[in-house]
Amino acid sequence: MLGRRQKREKWILLAPALAVLALITLIPLANTLWLSFTDTRISALPEPVHFIGLENYVYALTDPDFQDALFRTLYFTIVSVGLEGVLGVAVAVLLNQEFRGRTLLRALIILPWAVPTIVNAVAWRLIYHPDYGALNSLLFQLGIISDYRSWIGDPATAMNMVVLADVWKNFPLVAYVALAALQTVPEDLSKAAAIEGAGPWKRFRSITLPWIAGPLMVVMVLRTIEAFRVFDIIYVMTGGGPADSTKTASFYVYQEYFNYLRSGSGASYAVLVAGISAVLIVFYYSATKRQTAGGAA
């Protein structure tokens, strides 16, 4: 289809973008990989650097603290994204019904999405405040709790409180995607099933859900990738505490780098986290591909 000149042009058009991405992502990535095989430290003075092979990795993989951080990240990711999925679909189903104020409500739920992540963290931190927080006050006045609690000061509840804040900000994205998909479900299909005697739950399970599964899958995997690298909200709300109960993988690497200044060992953690992300990204790629292939059919 293309002239020779146009084929050459392709690379000219791509060159600036490729150059920027190479400089800001590819070269640093390679650099991080290299660092992970060394004992480099962040230091004002030049220090000798030694190639130490897999030593960092051996240490990282046997480090129980890092394993805990990975499991916390996994917990945060699964619970957050799971709740966002359930809430998102439920909200989409609700917003797909006819009722007064629907347009307003549809516009309203874009607001959490628009709130900057840091503002979200700060707002919920205020809400969770042990002495003057709105949550304590509300639950106390409703008679649900008899004593004020330290929601994010208690290792037992802190992570779940962070999850709640994250779900509040991110369910709208899932809801919008699900709503857009719901609006393409042919009415005839649902009517036909109703005539066949299928109840609402059965209709939802066997018709609606399979119909919206493709796009839903794509957005959920995307959210999983984002949730897995969670940092901002942890940094502001809990600083990884209390007692490391919210210290996630990204936060762990951050501390290894910038608190303990061990760049070599930090890099090995970073590479491991990146490896897990890469697997998720491959999932995202195949989900998207299946989705576009299904859409074309």
């Binding site: 289809m1 293309l2 002239g3 020779r4 000149r5």
Partner: protein, 380 residues
């Protein structure tokens, strides 16, 4: 005539092949066109006519072969360097630009000075009667007006060769006829060399100085509209060109002395018998009999016999036929007759007093009869 013969062809395509993967889209295309010709590429969808045009334009690379335009080898040149202009099916006007800028775009790119550009645009606008639209945007124009602007954009640069890609297919039937006349008028006044793609055989017949009939990436026949219509090289061309198309009836031919006896089976009884005093099928030797396809156009099957005029028993012969269906169409009445395994159409005069189920004498004009081989479909 002599002058034209000494001229170089404006377009010469030699051994052109185009493959997409394993699929041969165009197979060994050879054609040549003289300046001022109006060459129409016609064929059913998927025959490769648009791909061929795209190859000529340079928008599509060719797999092998050469393309010469005005004597220069343009095979590997960019579209812009080929000294050609193209009118697209969708008009492809620049929506964000005024009509004036649309027409002058090619001059703008070539940095022609402002006064010269204005003059040329005005000239073309005058030719196409769109002066009053120059300051409008394409979105504010009707389909026919857009069509004119697209032609204006092509005309203004005075290129060696114009390419038209189904330019009328987006217009309604009535406007299509008007614009067809308009294109013909422009061709006559400017003497431009035009390659024109269409799937509409009527457009091809009315516009072309020569027609290229294509099928499955192969050129079937190149000729004037009369040649294509009267002496189609095979059954496909016979069937595709002309509306209603040629009746292709299976029958037997026997050479008996100076004539050929034709027998065309009918479902209701004895076969229809005709005698061709012309040359007959070339491949048929004396005394030989062959089953073949007999081609007669609907206007060669008329009701002249009923009006008892001109039947001479040689080029015009009469035979009784059972009318299966009668379809009045205003100027004519078409009658369907089951003949030789096909629904043959006869073109009767509008006031012919006939009805379905009747047996009436039909006059067969054998002066323009065609014969095709059953296996290959080729003219014999």
């Amino acid at each position: 005539m002599n002058a034209a013969m000494t001229q170089d062809p404006i377009l010469k395509i030699s051994s052109l092949q185009k493959r997409y993967g394993d699929v041969d889209v165009l197979k060994d295309i050879n054609l040549s066109m003289m300046p001022g010709e109006f060459l129409v590429l016609v064929g059913p969808s998927g025959c490769g006519k648009s791909t061929l045009l795209s190859c000529i334009s340079g928008l599509t690379d060719i797999s092998s072969g050469t393309i010469h335009i005005a004597g220069k080898d343009r095979t590997n040149d960019e579209p812009a360097d080929r000294d050609i202009a193209m009118v697209f099916q969708s008009y492809a006007l620049f929506p964000n630009m005024s009509v004036e800028r649309n027409i002058g775009f090619g001059l703008e790119v070539r940095k022609v000075n402002e006064a010269e550009k204005k003059r040329k645009v005005a000239e073309v606008a005058d030719l196409l009667k769109i002066e009053h639209l120059l300051h409008r945007r394409p979105a504010e124009l009707s389909g026919g007006q857009r069509q004119r602007v697209a032609m204006g954009r092509a005309l203004v640069r005075e290129p060696k060769l114009f390419l038209f890609d189904e330019p009328l297919s987006n217009l309604d039937a009535k406007l299509r006829v008007t614009m067809r006349t308009e294109i013909k008028r422009i061709h006559q006044t400017t003497g431009a060399s035009i390659v024109y793609v269409t799937h509409d055989q009527i457009e091809a017949m009315t516009l072309a100085s020569r027609i290229v009939v294509m099928k499955d990436g192969v050129v079937q026949q190149i000729g004037t509209p009369q040649e294509i219509y009267n002496t189609p090289v095979n059954a496909f061309v016979a069937d595709f060109m002309g509306a209603p198309s040629m009746n292709l009836m299976t029958g037997t031919a026997t050479r008996e002395g100076d004539h050929v006896r034709l027998q065309i089976p009918t479902p209701e009884g004895p076969p229809l018998e005709l005698v061709d005093y012309g040359p007959g099928p070339k491949t048929l030797t004396a005394g030989g009999t062959a089953e073949l396809i007999i081609g007669l156009r609907p206007e060669a099957m008329t009701d002249l016999g009923m009006r008892a005029s001109g039947i001479d028993g040689r080029t015009l012969q009469s035979a009784d036929c059972l009318l299966d269906v009668v379809e009045p169409a205003g100027a004519d009445t078409y009658a369907v007759i089951q003949l030789g395994g096909t629904e043959a159409v006869a073109r009767l005069s509008a006031d012919a007093p006939v009805a379905a189920g009747q047996r009436v004498p039909i006059a067969f004009d054998l002066s323009k009869i065609s014969y095709f081989d059953i296996a290959s479909g080729n003219r014999i």
